[in-house]
Symmetry: C2
DNA sequence: GAACTATATTCCGATGTGGGAATGTAGATA
DNA sequence: TATCTACATTCCCACATCGGAATATAGTTC
């Protein structure tokens, strides 16, 4: 992946917010919708943009699509550096912090950490 | 300056090359033209784009326009972090390294470090 | 002032992007 | 099988961007 393509992925605020959340771990689309409070088509298209360029991966789990950052070991040096930089910058940004706070609440209400939408989990799915 | 605006400035290869050179110090447009080997209008427009968004500053010196990065102290945390990240990434990139090598040759042939196009300098201008 | 140099701007076309409304689809559930 | 849920895709429009050709401008030199 070329460096400029990484920046092209980072040059939209919605995508920055998605990546900021993904830095905390895998998430399904309904989490993004709930945290960002944006229309489904907008979220889905930006996730598709990131996926087409290799900045995120997706796997299906029942009705849900779980998005993740590529595995640490498979990230290029440039991607590692820029994701780390994004995380640093987001730490001082009100909007990004608000998103993380909302995510934390969702995690409590809707999916235990590490068991996103697993059938074996307590609930019958995602009510977020 | 918002974080996303920084990334918008970084999402074009020509602009990345310009900034990579500026990380070494101030330069005039003819240096950029010579190093990048791109048309004058292309260089000038991308410099204008960066200037309009505060990523570079410009001052006139005779016929020449000298472009610089904003003073270290006036850079936001986000800009500092991303310029440092860019410099790291560029260090491992063939094109950016080639640009720097070309710049080094120009510096020898055409302008002593720190005396870019100064009238008090030896030559009568820039022959790059 | 005329000519020249270095750079910026304008005009134009091609292309990409972002957003929303509507529709399609894969899998689960009844 | 029919329906429902979660998500993706298509179609469309508005708009920004990129690039080059041509032109304009600021400052220098003769």
């Amino acid at each position: 992946m070329k460096l400029v393509q990484i920046y092209q992925c980072l040059c939209d605020e919605t995508r920055l917010r998605l990546l900021n959340l993904l830095l905390r771990g895998p998430l399904c689309v309904c989490h993004f919708q709930s945290v960002l409070d944006e229309p489904q088509v907008k979220i889905s298209k930006h996730l598709g943009y990131l996926k087409a360029r290799g900045l995120v991966t997706a796997k299906r789990s029942g009705n849900w699509m779980i998005y993740s950052l590529p595995a640490e070991r498979s990230r290029t040096v440039e991607l590692k550096a820029n994701l780390a930089c994004l995380q640093d910058c987001a730490a001082g940004n009100a909007l990004f912090k608000r998103d993380l706070a909302r995510l934390a609440k969702l995690d409590l209400a809707c999916a235990p950490v590490g068991a996103l939408h697993e059938k074996s989990a307590a609930g019958s799915g995602c009510d977020c």
